[in-house]
């Protein structure tokens, strides 16, 4: 798994996640989400290049959502691939997250 941070206007940041999110890689994603949440008012996690995610990845995202709510930040996911969508649906968590269909939505905002 690789991570890339993109800064947008309006105090918005995007974490681009590439590769596999599992027990091995999720701790570094977790750390990045926690760090970036403190540095912006809106954090978007882009999953369009994620080829695999498991429950530890899901838990990491859920935790990010929980923390963002506690500290009054906005948290969204973007670019959900089929595999990721299926895992969300298995967890019945599709509706819990704010999911952007397209990252262009941010530029329009």
């Amino acid at each position: 798994m690789k991570l890339a941070i993109e800064e947008k206007n309006n105090n918005t940041k995007i974490i681009h996640v590439m590769g596999t999110v599992d027990l091995y890689s999720s701790p570094s994603l977790r750390e990045e989400i926690q760090t970036q949440l403190k540095k912006c008012s809106y954090l978007i996690v882009n999953l369009s290049d994620v080829d695999y995610i498991d429950s530890s990845g899901i838990a990491t995202l859920v935790e990010g959502l929980q923390v963002s709510k506690k500290i009054g930040k906005k948290f969204s996911l973007a670019g959900i691939t089929e595999q990721v969508r299926d895992v969300f649906s298995l967890a019945r968590l599709e509706k819990v997250f704010n999911i952007l269909d397209d990252l262009k939505e941010i530029d329009n905002e």
């Binding site: 027990l23 429950s55 899901i58 838990a59 019945r92």
Partner: protein, 572 residues
């Protein structure tokens, strides 16, 4: 006048008696094929027909260009047999042999040709003699002589009768000799048949080999009674077999004996060295040592592992190993052109190969005779034609072997080939097919575990969504083992077994960590955003059956999921 007539009548009576004797002797001679018996009859009859005191028969010895007294009839018989040798031209018999003429001498003392040494040796006093050559198809067989007429002298007529009698004897001797030769040939042929049977007993037959999970096909046709082609298959342990297939250079008995020796050596070396490369190295050195007159051996041999579904083999200068890959429905050839035949260079380092040998896969080994079979124009059958002959769909090994033979017969236009043709085929019929993975409890290993599972599932007809879910469930199970059973000790063993049976995939995961207490398994109430238990939820959602079986140490997790019938069967 009357006196003359009476004499004539008595002459005629004598002549008739002699002719009837001749006829009698003729039928007597034809009644036997035993050479000793025939010689006996000849001597006995010579004496009687010629009214002589003794008779001797010399046989012509081509090698020594001399006459050897074979048999004598009379008082001195024992003193003559085998003891009297006459050079060509020596004595009366020698003269007759040389000139091939019948002669009558009524007083030998007046004949310069007479050789008195024989009489000195035997104590027999030769007075008169009639001597005739035995000729068969212009070939000298021997000389017969009748000695000392009991009453009066040998006449010209006697000579005539004797020469006729002797020519009959020549035919009888020659016939008996041919018969003896034929018998010897027959015996040799019988011995060859026996040799073939004995050789055959070295090679395993389909019904002899107890093989689990393998099906065999073998057929051979032998050109020169005994063949240099060989093969063997034997168990190493419960799941592994050693197979070999090869050809000893040369033909006939020497090649067969070398082969028999080789087969027993190989078995010994296999069990002694327990390592394919070392075993081949030792065998090569041994064959180099014992090899005579440029003999060498080409061979494919290796270990068939029905558990890991792998074939570990070395091709020592033999034709390629042909492999039917059932998944892709295609034939592959494994040629190793770098390796040379065994017994040629004792320092050669052989290169081994590993290939997959999954369920339904088939491999075929062939002898030179297959490739070198010629059509009426002398064109060789070749590998390309062979590959075209091989069935492109599901088949059993024996019918593959038969199919190749049938094609070869058609190609070469006759029922027997010029060379030894041997074909040996093995199919992996282990079903359900399963594979194993030994790994350990590190999160780093998860990606290779997922790949292992994905590769296995990819052989079957499964949608990518279904495949991803199965991979996810197994990943979650291993994640739980790492987190809970081994409490994040990242170096503990995990064993995984995947199998497929009747449209269903079975997964077994074994750990040796903290036991699972089923009541404590937290399955998340969904939807929930609290972490933990989500993996278990995934497992239960995805799998049809899930069970945790406690073991003395650790747990065996068994899961299964229906995925449908196998993809590749649509190709058959």
């Amino acid at each position: 006048m009357a006196e003359k007539s009476i004499l004539k009548i008595s002459d005629l009576t004598q002549k008739i008696n002699r002719i009837s004797s001749l006829v009698e002797v003729g039928s007597l001679l034809n009644s036997s094929l035993d050479i000793d018996e025939i010689l006996n009859i000849i001597m006995k009859s010579s004496k009687r027909v010629m009214n002589a005191s003794a008779a001797t028969l010399f046989l012509y010895d081509e090698k020594g260009d001399s006459l050897v007294a074979e048999l004598a009839y009379g008082n001195v018989a024992k003193k003559v047999k085998g003891k009297v040798n006459l050079k060509m031209g020596q004595g009366i018999a020698g003269w007759v042999a040389q000139h091939r003429k019948t002669i009558v001498i009524n007083d030998v003392t007046k004949d310069k040709r007479f050789h008195c040494n024989v009489d000195k040796k035997t104590g027999f006093k030769t007075k008169s003699i009639v001597c005739a050559p035995l000729i068969y198809q212009n070939r000298l067989i021997g000389v017969a002589q009748a000695l000392n007429k009991k009453e009066g002298n040998f006449s010209k007529e006697d000579a005539e009768i004797f020469s006729k009698f002797v020519s009959q004897a020549a035919v009888a001797i020659e016939t008996a000799r041919l018969h003896k030769e034929k018998l010897a040939n027959q015996r040799l042929e019988q011995e060859l048949t026996m040799a073939l049977m004995i050789q055959d007993s070295f090679l395993p037959h389909i019904n002899d080999i107890s093989i689990k999970n393998l099906e065999l096909g073998i057929k051979k046709s032998v050109a020169y009674n005994v063949s240099g082609d060989f093969y063997d298959l034997f168990m190493l342990d419960n799941t592994r077999y050693f197979f070999l297939f090869g050809d000893v250079s040369g033909k006939g008995i020497p090649a067969a004996m070398y082969m028999a020796n080789l087969l027993s050596k190989i078995r010994y070396f296999v069990f002694r060295y327990k390592n394919l490369k070392i075993m081949i190295d030792k065998l090569n050195k041994e064959l180099f040592r014992i090899s005579k007159r440029g003999m060498f051996t080409t061979m494919i041999c290796g270990i068939l592992d029905t558990k890991s579904m792998k074939l570990h083999f070395i091709n020592c200068g033999h034709l390629p190993l042909l492999m039917y890959n059932a998944d892709e429905s295609k034939w592959l050839t494994f040629y190793n052109k770098d390796n040379i035949p065994l017994g040629i260079d004792d320092s050669f380092e052989y290169i081994d190969e590993f290939i997959n040998f999954y369920s339904e896969d088939i491999f075929v080994c062939i002898s030179d005779g297959v490739i070198e079979a010629k059509d009426k124009d002398g064109t060789e059958f070749g590998i390309k034609r062979l590959l075209k002959t091989l069935p492109s769909t599901k088949s059993d090994p024996q019918s593959i072997v038969e199919k190749i033979f049938k094609r070869l017969k058609k190609y070469s236009g006759n029922t027997s080939f010029n060379d030894d043709v041997t074909i040996f085929s093995i199919k992996n019929i282990s079903s359900p097919s399963f594979i194993e993975l030994n790994t350990y409890s590190s999160p780093k290993e998860l990606s290779s575990i997922r790949k292992f599972v994905k590769d296995f599932i990819s052989k079957y007809k499964v949608s990518s969504k279904q495949s991803n879910r199965i991979v996810l469930a197994i990943d979650e199970a291993v994640t739980n083992i790492i987190k809970y059973s081994y409490e994040k000790d990242y170096s503990r063993p995990i064993k995984m077994k995947l199998k497929y049976k009747k449209g269903r995939i079975f997964i077994e995961i074994r750990d040796y960590g903290k036991p699972v207490v089923p009541e404590n398994l937290r399955i998340k109430k969904i939807p929930s955003t609290k972490p933990g238990g989500l993996g278990l939820h995934f497992i239960n959602q995805i799998m049809d059956t899930v069970s945790y079986e406690p073991r003395k140490k650790g747990t065996l997790l068994k899961m299964s999921r229906y995925i449908g019938e196998k993809t590749n069967e649509t190709c058959y």
